[in-house]
């Protein structure tokens, strides 16, 4: 490149300057991205890769450096792991489906112009910045067997003592956990859908109405398809969170079988360091299942994305 520039004179100076400019132009975007990419590649990708290596048995701090599949084989043949997987999937699907349906219904209601809409929308979004742990404590205060609801049923004579109230915390069906996720994520999804609905306006529906579509048809064939990208995007986030978060099943979940994130943390903190490999395998299975889900989601959005 140096050759193409004339050796002397004012022309070479401007040329050099232009080349420098072009280089700066070309490096502009990479330089802007670099700091954030360093954070994500070193800390996030680094963490995942190190976790993957440890899950295959590379654990130099306890003197193991051979690669094997023992961690995965051990957990996948372990009854309690499979039960944890089932419970976690149940929590993920039940929370996501319930929250999404409620979000659609509430967003459609809040879209209409009616009295009390402003204050309801305000309250609707109030819990979005509330931490999950606070939600979990609220659920305990409400739904535990000596909680506020149980006090109400006893006041009304439906129950006589705390033990009569159906267990909804630390229970078999993970009701408390699911309620917390639904409570917290209904508004999260709803806010996204509400924004989409407000962006759409009434035009599409007016056209459908003119063409003779009734209310159900307008919902089924006009509104829902238009909301689909938003629904998919938010429900993926909700599922990934409900499937992978530690705090809520830790606070509201039953002792056995535990949710997968709690299980992997307990393996990790076992006094027997030999369980490290199982801990990593469990956490890699969580991350892997979530990644597969994202890939499915990306495929789905390709078909659903509006072409406008």
């Amino acid at each position: 490149m140096e050759k193409s520039i004339p050796a002397s004179g004012i022309i070479s100076k401007t040329l050099r300057f232009e080349m420098f400019d072009e280089l700066r132009e070309r490096l502009h975007v990479p330089m802007l991205l670099l700091p954030a990419m360093v954070v994500i590649i070193v800390l996030f990708m680094g963490g995942l890769i190190m976790g993957l290596m440890q899950s295959f048995g590379y654990l130099p701090m306890i003197g193991k450096t051979d690669f094997n599949l023992n961690g995965y084989i051990n957990i996948l043949t372990d009854e309690s792991f499979l039960q944890s997987l089932a419970v976690t999937s149940w929590i993920g699907f039940a929370s996501t489906i319930t929250a999404t349906i409620l979000a659609i219904v509430t967003a459609l209601v809040l879209r209409q112009s009616m009295r009390g809409k402003r204050i309801t929308t305000f309250i609707y979004q109030l819990n979005v910045p509330v931490p999950h742990i606070v939600g979990a404590i609220g659920i305990i205060f409400l739904f535990s067997q000596s909680g506020l609801l149980s006090r109400c049923t006893t006041q009304f004579g439906l129950t006589q003592a705390p033990a009569d109230f159906p267990p909804m915390i630390y229970d078999k069906y993970s009701i408390g956990i699911i309620m917390e996720y639904v409570w917290k994520t209904m508004a999260f999804t709803g806010v996204i859908l509400l924004a989409v609905l407000q962006g759409l306006g009434e035009d599409y529906e007016d056209v459908a109405r003119t063409l003779g579509a009734n209310g159900w048809q307008r919902l089924r064939y006009v509104i829902i398809p238009l909301l689909m990208p938003g629904i998919l995007r938010s429900s993926i986030l909700v599922f990934a969170f409900a499937f992978g978060a530690f705090e809520i099943p830790f606070l509201l979940g039953q002792r056995y079988p535990r949710a997968l994130p709690v299980l992997s943390y307990e393996y990790y903190h076992d006094v027997d360091l030999g369980f490290r490999q199982e801990a990593m395998a469990t956490s890699m299975i969580i991350a892997g299942l979530i990644t597969i889900l994202i890939l499915i989601y990306m495929k789905l959005t390709e078909t659903y994305v509006r072409s406008d």
Partner: protein, 292 residues
Amino acid sequence: MLPEFETEIEEPSAVAIESEEERRSRTGRIFSYAVMILIIVVILAPIIPIFIWAFSGRWFYPDLLPEEFSLRAIKYIFSPASKAAEAVLKGGSIALIATLLSLIVGIPAGRAIGLHDFRGKKLVLFLILAPVIVPGLSVLMGIHVAFIRFGLAGTVGGVTLAHLIATTPYVVMVMSSVFSNYDPEFEEQARTLGANVRKTFVHVTFPVIFPGVLVAGMFAFIISWGQYIVTLLISGGKVITVPLLLVNFASGADKPVTAALALLFLAPSIVIILITSKYLTGESAALGGFGA
């Protein structure tokens, strides 16, 4: 006068034509009000008992309200014995530093994504969004060994670094949407008028993106402030923040103190709700990602 007169005439006739539609919409409206009342009850239901418990003295089953109110729990969390002040200070400074760092790395990235089209943009977006979706526990369990080796485990610095994984994606997301509505022409004009890079940023770019930076900063702060398992794992219990203290109490029996700590933990969220309440009623999904 005239417009009023017109509407008076038009309205009855419209009703007469759409009477079938009207009747149907009346049941629709009743349904809508029912849903609105349910929304208010459901959203507030878990929060209200926390406020009551925080100020309650003796409260026996099955009373619906405490026999007496008391400030014991509030006084306790303000006393040195509870370590709450220390946790607020530690957690608050970690969150502040994490916020600042993620703004520094996130604003340029947001600009690149919002303003420019480039090869590999999809991959960059995927990488930046991935930490939002992949659980922090999986990532941190893997990197913990390296943190121990570099002496970062059990330190404020290590915890802050771990929080960066969670805060950076949100800052980039908010800032990229800010920059996608941003017109770089103004910078060009400032430069033509003789402003240098720094002056252009201070006087042109920053004032325009400031509201977005504020939202991104609040996101980052509240996400860092709320991290539980990541903090516990990296600190090994040596760096106590408010959520660690809170979860510790939540598994105990002292409900008033648990509730008071929950309110303390909630405080930044309440501040943010007050600041943003203007926007909360309306058309923006900017707050949609909080706490996810």
